[in-house]
Each structure stands twice: as C-alpha cells, then as structure tokens.
Amino acid sequence: MKKILRWGLSIVCICWLWPAAGFANENSEWFECHSDEGLTKESTDNILKTEITEFLYVDEEKFNHSVHNINGITCVDCHSDIEELNYDEEVPHEQYLKAVCCASCHEEAGDDFKNSVHMKMRNKGITMTCYACHGYHYVQHMESASVAERENSICLKCHNPYQFHDWLPSRDSHFAYVECVVCHAPDVPRHINLKLYDLVTDSFYKSDKLFKVLGMEPEQFMGTIDANKDGLIDAAEFDNLVLLLKQKNIHAVFRAELVADINSIAHHVNRGTAEKTCQNCHSAESPYFNAVSLIFSKDDGTVERYNVARPVLESYHVSHFYLLAGTRMKLMDKIGIFLLAGGACAVFIHFTARVLTIPLRKKKDQDEA
C-alpha cells in the first residue's frame, strides 16, 4: 500500500519530522503535504470498479478564499474521522477516509435535499453527494453569482437543457434570464437581481469600486437614495439614482435576472413539478417579479442588497430586460388606446356625416338624371 504514494513526496513528508502527537487544526499544516500537485493515491473507482489515480492536491490559494475557510472551518471539521496526525507513519493519517457529511452542519439543506429527484435516485442505487453539485474545497457564496454562473457551476455539469424544453420558445433567453431552479423548484422564494453593468469596461460594477466613485459607504446608500425612507427604492427615487450615476460619470445600464434566493428549498427539484404555465410569469400580475433588488457584488461572493419597487422594471432604465406581457409599459398602452380611439372617432364621425348626407347626394343624382 505504501508504494502507492509517490516516493519523493513521502520522503518529504517523513523528513519533516513533526512532533508525533501534534494535531493539526491549523489549515496551513495540511498544506505541508497537500499543496503538492503531484500527490496522488491509487484507488478503485466505485462506479467503474477500475483502478484509478486520485489526485490529493488541494489548492491553498483557492481554499483560502472558500466560504468554509473564511468561516473558520478547518480540514478536520469536514474530514472528521481524522483524529490525529501521526508523523511516524509515512502517511500521517488513515489513507481511506470516510465520506464527508455536509449535512452535519447544513442540516436544513440535508432535510430539503431529501425531497429531490437527486436524492430519490438512491432507490435506483445511484448516490448523489452534496458536492456533486457544490464542489467541496472551493465552495463560494452563491448570492452574487449570475444565472449563467449558477447554472454552469451546478446543473449544466450534468444536464443539457436543450434536450428537453422543446415546448419552450426562446429557450436561450429563458436559460440566460431564469435560473433552472426557479422553474424546477417552484416553491423556492425568488427575486429579480438588478446589477449595474459598466459599458466602458464591459463588466459588472463591484461594490467597492462603485462606492469609491460615489464617495459614500454602503450603509449610507439607502439614506441618500431612499428619500421617503420606506426602505424601498421606488420609480422616482430610481430616476434620481440614475441621475446621480450620470453626474459621477458612470456609463452603465441595469441588467436584470430572475434568480432563486439562496435558500435550501432550492433543492426541491422533482420530476413533473416544474413551472410550465407561461402566464404565471408572462403576465402583469406575475408573482415571480414581486421582489426586486439592486445588488452590488463583493469579492467574497456576498452582496450589498437594496430593495427596489417592482414598477422600476417597467422603466427604460432597465432597458435590457423585457418580459413579454409581464413588465409591459403602461404608458405604451395609453398611447395605443389614444391612437385607436382617435382612428375610431374619425371613422365614426365621417360615417355619421355620410349617412346624414345621403339625401343630399340622392337629390344631386336625381337632378343630374
């Protein structure tokens, strides 16, 4: 078994000669071994039942940025069957570790995941782990992720949505603007994220950059923008925000997307329960668009979030989002009714005059005859 580890490496590890009983709860200690990109072990693939080489490398830089490290979770909080490191051994801990149980910390997610096709397929003998979707060492906060980022990092790893959804027109628009779980876990709370897209640099404005340009702290933002202090940026206040941005020379547009809240109900993906009724979204009363928020991403994947009133979606400030029937501009309808009524009036008046003047023309015809 010991042959399995690459020679050079094991030597490095052994030569370190750490105090035998030193138990590593500092993450840095683990990287003495696991920062080596060549560190591998042989094992059997549990599906294909063949010998495979597993890489044991952990990218320290990326791990340090993960949500778990930031929240002080160490290697052994997850690999909890490692109780001590014994440096007298070539490998200071068991080589074959138990599966990590994410649900031991994420209880709610664990419970909600039980109500999911991906869990129920255990009956067929296929086990899907939490980390098949989320990954493990480099988990990030998902709040600031765009629809595309969320889909790419989760569902699209396994599914090709173009194989299904033949009934859905403009599939590319839907997949770009509606996160899969908004339809597939229809009970998950959802909201529209409005993000400021910088036309000069072709990227989304980050929180730190924006507030530097605005010359204020994130906490002061609502105080400045929300004039009537109802905690909601309404259409008039939004106009002022746009004006403020223009004054600060920010050339940007607002982009909107329909995403799920970061909520463990998102795990309720089941067969045959997905949202299929177009009118539930494509109507002016759609409940899908009640919650709207303006977000600015921070580097750790969290966001500054400010609540926005729904009618802002109908404004031209959100020029890159238009939901058929759902966010239609009421002003257009008024213009339309005005045009139609004008036309109908003209026809009606002319027609009345035409009927009333029939005798006139009859008389003229008789005179001529």
Binding site: W167, L168, P169, S170, D172, S173, A176, V253, C278, Q279, H282, S283, A284, E285, Y316, V318, S319, H320, F321, Y322, L324, A325, R328, M329, M332, I335, G336, L339, L340, G342, G343, A344, A346, V347, H350, F351, A353, R354, T357, L360, R361, K364, D365
Partner: protein, 208 residues
C-alpha cells in the same frame, strides 16, 4: 354590355392582388396573436405559446410577402406610383382632404382619377411610401430581433436594449391597427361601398 366593359380599367395586376390579400390576412393574424401576447392575462383567444409560434410563422410569411412586393415593384419600375410629385403634392393633398371632408358628402367627383400608372392619390402616396419603406420594415426588423433576442443581442444592445426594440414594435403595432381600421373604412368610399374591395379581387376598377 360592351360599354360596361369599356368603363372598367385594369388597376391591380395579379401579383399585387395576391400580395395584398396575403398581407391583409397576415396582418389580421399578427394583430390578434400580438394582442394575445401582449395582454396574456386579459385575453384568452389561445394559449400564449401557440400565440407566439403562430405570430412568428405569420410574421415570416408577411416578411416573405413584403420581399415579393419589393421585387415586383422595384424590379418593374412601378414603384414610381409610390413617389409623390414634389411640385404638386401639396395642392393635390389639400384637394384630396377637401374632397374627403366635404366634396364626398355633397356628391362631387373624386379629384383623383385612378389609372394604372397613377393609382394613388396624393394622400395615399405619402402614407403608403412611409409605410412600405419605413414603418413596415421597422416593424419586421424589430419583430425579427424579438424573435431571437440572444442571437441578435449585439444589434439589440447597439440600439439601446430590448425595451427600445419592443417599444418600436408596439408603437408600430398600434399604428398599424389604427391604420387598418381607417384603411378599411376609406375603402368603402368608392363609387359604391364595395367597389374598391371588388377591384382588389378582380383587378378591375370601374372608371368614371
């Protein structure tokens, strides 16, 4: 009988008649499906997804029909009948307005006599020129953009976003709906209420 025949003049050639009725039928369908799309929560003519696919198919039929029209008129040089004569257009237009507003009621003859080479009166010329070369193309192009938003996103963004495109499409929709209403009414102002309609089927207009 022969005298009757002599009074008839051939104003609408077969390609024009075919084009016209495809276009008219297409417009009615586009308006109905368009209304269903825009007012999904108020109307129940058909399911939204059917309305959308029907609207798209008919939209492309109308675009194809428009191209037929363009090729026929530009190719044959007949497009001239759409171009107003700049020296006379104002006086002629005023005359025409007076006719519709007064002369018609008292039974005066139409100041514009229809001939194959001079089919449209001055008002018609201006309206149709604008419609066929500006408004309808704008309606079709905005429609095609709305059909594949992701695919045309570059052009759409260049024009200021999907909402701008949609506004164009909707405003023109209201314009065309109003236009068709008035168009149908004006078509009853021939020397008999159905004369112009018959002409668009047979090609022959009675001459007076």
């Amino acid at each position: 009988m022969t005298s009757e025949k002599e009074k008839m003049i051939y104003v609408h050639s077969a390609p024009v008649r075919v084009w016209h009725w495809i276009n008219a039928f297409g417009f009615v369908l586009l308006i109905l499906t368009g209304l269903q799309i825009r007012y999904a929560e108020m109307l129940n003519l058909m399911p939204l997804s059917d309305a959308i696919s029907l609207h798209n198919y008919v939209g492309f039929a109308v675009i194809f029909d428009y191209l037929l029209w363009l090729v026929y008129y530009v190719g044959s040089g007949k497009v001239r009948i759409y171009i107003p004569d700049l020296r006379q257009v104002v006086t002629l237009a005023v005359k025409q307005v007076k006719y519709y507003g007064y002369g018609f009621f008292v039974g005066k003859p139409n100041p514009h006599a229809m001939t194959p080479d001079n089919k449209f009166n001055a008002l018609q010329q201006q309206a149709y020129l604008m419609i066929m070369f500006v408004l309808l193309p704008a309606q079709m192009i905005s429609g095609v953009f709305l059909w594949k938003i992701k695919g045309y996103s570059e052009y759409i963004n260049l024009l200021g976003g999907i909402k701008v495109i949609d506004t164009i499409h909707v405003v023109l929709f209201f314009f065309f709906t109003t236009f068709i209403l008035i168009h149908c009414y004006l078509a009853t102002l021939g020397h008999t209420p159905l004369a112009h309609f018959k002409a668009m089927f047979t090609g022959y207009e009675e001459h007076h």
